[in-house]
Symmetry: C2
Subunit: 210 residues, 2 copies
């Protein structure tokens, strides 16, 4: 484990949270069908901001400049969001759920690899997981009304993951220390990580009913 890898991982998560907050707020503003749903997705967005603050403060404690730590990852996350702009409310919900789920998988992975002092932060983030349960309710209700939406949303979820992997590959290529930290430089570990992410993603799709 290298300190530079730690800062990279925290910086990447911090930028992911800051951007998720802002993009989710944008989706809530532009796509929510009513004020209650707008407030619900808004609440999820605010929780992401809370995670960002935890990560930023942790970076500062480590003596790192948060802006410099986040900067190398801005382009990848921004590109992902640009390539996966939701076209409607259901797509926004699926994106929030899939994105949050993958982020939480990464937090768990980070907890395995980073210094133990990150554990409370990861605990706090994971405790927020249940906030996204309203998404499951909304998507399942929409599919009960119109089951033909399932295929479209399943394709959408696959695109979210596909574009994410494409960005992740570019990040891994440009930040070898980060890739090494997550994978312990072991091909078997990389395979395990991908298998686990895929499995967790599959469980989330099943929860949504798509």
């Amino acid at each position: 484990m290298t300190e530079s890898g730690d800062v990279d991982l925290l910086g990447a998560l911090a930028y992911a949270e800051l951007t998720a907050f802002l993009r989710m707020a944008e989706d809530a503003s532009q796509l929510a069908p009513n004020l209650t749903d707008r407030a619900e997705l808004g609440s999820l967005a605010v929780a992401e901001y809370g995670h960002f603050v935890l990560l930023r403060d942790r970076l500062a404690e480590l003596g790192a400049d948060p802006e410099s730590a986040m900067a190398p990852f801005a382009e990848a996350f921004d590109s992902w969001h640009e390539l996966t702009k939701p076209g409607d409310w259901l797509q926004a919900l699926v994106k929030a759920y899939v994105g949050l789920g993958i982020a939480l998988d990464f937090y768990r992975e980070a907890a395995r690899h980073l210094e133990p002092s990150i554990a409370p932060l990861v605990e706090e983030v994971l405790a927020d997981q249940e906030r996204s349960e309203f998404v499951v309710d909304r998507v399942r209700a929409a599919l009960a009304d119109d089951p033909t939406q399932a295929g479209r949303l399943a394709l959408w979820a696959r695109r979210l993951v596909g574009e994410g992997l494409s960005q992740a590959q570019q990040v891994a290529a440009s930040r070898p220390q980060l890739a090494q930290l997550l994978a312990d430089a072991d091909q078997a570990d990389i395979a395990r990580l991908f298998a686990q992410l895929t499995e967790e993603h599959g469980k989330r799709m099943a929860a949504l009913g798509i």
Copy 2:
């Protein structure tokens, strides 16, 4: 004082806060020149969401449906935001500062007219006022760099207020109970309210240096 007027006022403030949160997040995402500033405006946006939650809960305590209470004001606030989309970061900062300032003036007015139980809520909102001080720093620094920006920003601030008054007139016409609540049906009170809003706005412009 009518209960319907109370619900109207809380509903209008709740929608104003929810929308300010989402629009500020959008501006932070699209216009901030760096990640630190993006996080700063994001933090202000999150504070607005906190106010929204206080108001929504207060409405529910009063037995009102928050969505129904907010709905009559959605068009006016949405129109105002559409008509005052910031074109750059400085405009976004001035909009956040002016909008927050006017909202706080209305909270003070609400505290004068509404049942005493709203007082703690108003206290909590007013305590957040200092969060917007970073805006003053940023705008003054920008004007120190380039004093020619002052005229443009002063015009922008005037437009923000002008479009706001225009929307407020339409709301007052369609919600006489709200207008009556704020003005006690007394022309002198209306004149006083406008004079006070104008005076406070003038102080904020002086603080920004425009």
